[in-house]
């Protein structure tokens, strides 16, 4: 390779002839100021000692000269306009991260999406990989690259390889998701890939000098993602995206109206990321019928919202969308909510009479309560929930069961000795969904409780010093709550925790929650679904029509994680029961598509975005000028320290 091809202006190298001048100047004798002193006796000794103590005196004397030579050399090199050739740094492990979050779907003025631009940049990055030196054989090391998509979780697209064809194929197959960028899981991959674990006396993680992370993104990532990026030792940021034109629906929520029991309220929030004020018309469509249109004025780079009122008889799929509106990002122009019919819950109370229980169950609109005496109990088959008050059947029926002042002996619960007199509540679980943090059982005064020994599968919800007042048990066939005391002989029914506990129980065990009549989830979130009792398989139909089979474990909560797409998912159980799930982008982060050309990372680190990696021919004269400045400052410092300090 011709040395001169490294410089854009090699003629300037002629100034290198100035270098001997500096040496010449040092050869000239320094003019010294004469000074009469009483005696040179001690000075002579001091100078002799100084020379004797430092063998490098001569070298140090010339340090200024060396610095000046260096400064001149750098100056001449800078004048010759050197360019940096990126392929020169070979043998790198490049982690190419491509933002696949929703904002990357934004369409730029040229009609192509940000992801299209990102793909171009990624392909260029693959082009620029060092493929080794064909002539020198093994001496020129090859770069390798892995491709990681960034969405709500990392999407591994291509493991580490030097095969450019595979990398290109992986890049072409990339698809943007409707999720919000989240780098929490990516952090582990980055840590593993960009740091080397050194085990000496201490385990340390040194930056891996070979590892380089290239992020291709519009910069629309959260603060938390930036924290992850701040830990990356070598980070290049290729920036895509220019437009800011977007209005997005950032929230849809359907709630029972507080103003009357006959209506639901559909809350919506909108965000305008452009630098101009916008007026949009928001439509509410239920069951393919436009119910309402509302005008919303949004300030530049601001947000707003509106509320729709829906009649009680309206059921089904609610769609909120921007009418006659186009902007760069269309995925957030529509949002869904499922307004489900209040699910009926058939509850059987087996009791010899318990007004408190009857009252607390009957008051819930979901509950269709049947009451029978213990001798009238035959089967629990037709009920969604059975409450055995002061009674236990010989065999616990499958399903959701509450035992009060008695225990399911066939499931491993045992009594230990005599009942406890006036047990005092010591503690209760604050993490279980039936006893969330805000309930207090402090006011629960109980006359007498059973002394129960729990089977291993059971968890304690409310405890006294010696036994568990309320416990929870879950198996393949059952969800069981055991309340170990007679509630008619306690003050619990007049304590606030009593109705709250039972409402939680009904919420938990009914298929659809009360209050929130719709289920609207965010893309990327995990949806927990309780399958119907006899279901064994289910199929999840995604908005794009893909059908994903699921096995259900009867009564066990199932978790749906394939929610990267916004829209309506349908979960079809083999029992024939169908459940519609609305999944929305609902992200102020992603809807605010204003691109960030510079990543401001925590700790004051700034990563300047480049439009592409064409920096392979970037001029580096300014770096040299910076170094020159540094050298000159160092020289000045040393000079003043020597002469005037």
């Amino acid at each position: 390779m011709n040395l001169f091809s490294f410089f854009l202006n090699p003629a300037m190298l002629g100034f290198l002839a100035l270098l001997p001048l500096i040496v010449l100047m040092y050869l000239l004798k320094l003019k010294r100021r004469p000074m009469l002193v009483p005696s040179t006796l001690l000075w002579r000794r001091a100078v002799e000692d100084l020379v004797a103590n430092s063998p490098f005196q001569k070298l140090r004397n010339n340090l200024l000269m060396w610095l000046q030579l260096l400064a001149l050399l750098l100056l001449v090199l800078a004048l010759a306009r050197p360019v940096m050739n990126i392929t020169g740094t070979s043998g790198e492990s490049i982690i190419l991260m491509v933002d696949l979050s929703a904002s990357m779907q934004a369409r730029e003025s040229d009609g192509r999406t940000r992801l299209d631009h990102a793909k171009d940049a990624a392909l260029r990055a693959v082009e620029e990989m060092s493929t080794g030196n064909r002539f020198l054989g093994t001496i020129g090391a090859r770069d390798e690259m892995m491709i990681l998509g960034i969405a709500n979780r990392p999407i591994p697209l291509q493991p580490m390889t030097s095969d450019q064809a595979m990398l290109r194929a992986a890049i072409r197959s990339m698809q943007a998701t409707d999720t919000q960028a989240d780098l929490r899981d990516t952090a582990r991959i980055l840590e593993e890939r960009t740091r080397i674990r050194t085990t000496g006396d201490d385990v340390l993680f040194e930056p891996n000098p070979r590892a380089r992370v290239v992020l291709i993104s519009d910069g629309v990532i959260g603060a938390q993602a930036k924290e992850v990026l701040a830990e990356v030792p070598r980070l290049d940021y290729i920036h895509v995206g220019e437009t800011t034109d977007n209005v997005g629906i950032t929230l849809v929520d359907v709630r029972e109206s507080f103003s009357g029991s006959f209506q639901y309220e559909v809350f919506t929030s909108l965000l305008n990321s452009s630098d101009e004020d916008r007026t949009v018309y928001l439509e509410l469509v239920v069951d393919n019928e436009v119910l309402d249109v509302k005008r919303v004025d949004l300030p530049a780079e601001g947000s707003g919202g509106t509320v729709f009122l829906v009649g009680e008889d309206m059921r089904g799929l609610a769609v909120v969308r921007l009418a006659n509106h186009t902007d760069a990002l269309s995925r957030d122009d529509v949002a869904y909510a499922v307004i489900a019919p209040p699910s009926e819950m058939r509850v059987l109370l087996v009791s010899r009479g318990n007004p408190f229980l009857e009252r607390v169950l009957a008051v819930d609109p979901r509950v269709r309560l049947s009451v029978t005496r213990s001798d009238g109990y035959t089967s629990a088959d037709d009920y969604d929930m059975v409450v055995f008050d002061r009674f236990a059947p010989a065999v616990t029926p499958p399903g959701n069961i509450v035992y009060i002042n008695d225990i399911p002996r066939d499931l491993g619960f045992e009594l230990e000795g005599d009942p406890l007199k006036t047990p005092r509540v010591m503690d209760w679980s604050r993490v279980h969904s039936l006893t969330p943090q805000f309930i207090s059982f402090d006011g629960m005064v109980v006359g007498e409780s059973l002394r129960i020994s729990l089977p291993p599968q059971a968890t304690s919800l409310v405890q006294t010093e010696e036994t568990d007042l309320i416990s929870y048990y879950e198996s393949d066939n059952n969800r069981i709550v055991v309340i170990g005391f007679d509630i008619t002989r306690s003050y619990w029914p007049i304590d606030a925790s009593f109705p709250v506990f039972f409402t939680n129980l009904l919420d938990e065990w009914s298929r659809v929650r009360s209050g929130a009549v719709s289920a609207a989830y965010r893309t990327g979130s995990t949806i927990a679904v309780i399958p119907p009792r006899e279901a064994t398989t289910a199929i999840l139909r995604t908005p794009s029509g893909e059908r994903i089979p699921h096995l259900t474990d009867e009564m066990r909560t199932m978790y749906l994680t394939e929610t990267t797409e916004a829209g309506i998912y349908t979960l079809i159980f083999d029992t024939g029961w169908e459940n519609e799930l609305a999944v929305n982008l609902s992200s102020t982060q992603e809807s605010n598509i204003v691109p960030q050309p510079t990543l401001e990372l925590p700790g004051g680190r700034q990563v300047e975005g480049t439009s592409s990696t064409t920096a392979r021919n970037r001029e580096i004269w300014f770096l040299l000028v910076l170094v020159i400045l540094g050298v000159l400052m160092l020289e000045w410092y040393i000079y003043t320290k020597r002469s005037f300090a």
């Binding site: 009483p38 001091a46 100078v47 103590n53």
Partner: protein, 300 residues
Amino acid sequence: MPANQIDPKSLLDPALMARLDALEVLSHRVFRGRQKGERRSRKKGVSMDFADYRDYVRGDDTRFIDWNIFARLERLFIKLFLEEEDLSFHLIVDTSRSMDFGTPTTKFEYARRLAAALAYIGLRNQDKVGVTAFGRRGNQVVRPARGMAQLPKVLRSLADLDIDEGTSLQESIRDFVVRDTQGGIVVLVSDFMDERGFEDALKQFFHRTYEVYIIHLLSPEERDPSEVGHLELVDSETGERQEITLNDALRKQYRKSLDAYCRSIRDWAVARNMSYMPAVTSEPVDRMLLNYLRRQGLLG
């Protein structure tokens, strides 16, 4: 008029004299003076202060027999008294070229003020005070003499002293020792900037019974050189030239050399029963006298 000649009156001001009145020159050795003076020596003899008894032997002065004891013990005892002696107090001032440095007071001027004050103390206490200047071969500036009448003469001589070329510490002390026959207290004020060292010079004091006090004078500039940059130093006495680049490192090294030099004089002197006191000309003369010399035991 020589450049360094000053008004004798400026050497001692009345306020300083008043403070010096309380001091006297103390000696730690016994000196045989020619005249019983005010000095208290450890030689027992005739004076007003009783010291001890001893048995009478023939030939003793019968005036000193303690008859009270004889009455009780029927033995003759001679009362012994601390004998008071006069003392020769020699002030030796270095007049070499190197002394002519220092601001605002040169070492030479400072040495003369110090000598004047010490002379005043000595004369006030009826000691014989003599002044010797370095360099002037065989020239004793003021021969040792007693009495306040001597003071104007001493001051005049000190005021008239001038820097002398080509003096050496060794020759000067040798001349002094040869000429002096009485011994006594010697206060030597010098900067000890002599190429030939100080050991051989000071050794000559052993030829007589001297109690030697060395006051090593330095100017503040010598202690902490404030100059910076590239310098060519010229030795005031030898004219020798030394090129230096005065920076922190050299300054530090110079301080080390200076400290080592002072320490070598002190160690040498202390090992030979001489007292050594470093003095900086920025220190007022009276403080030097009232604090340091007192602490060293020269004055009391």
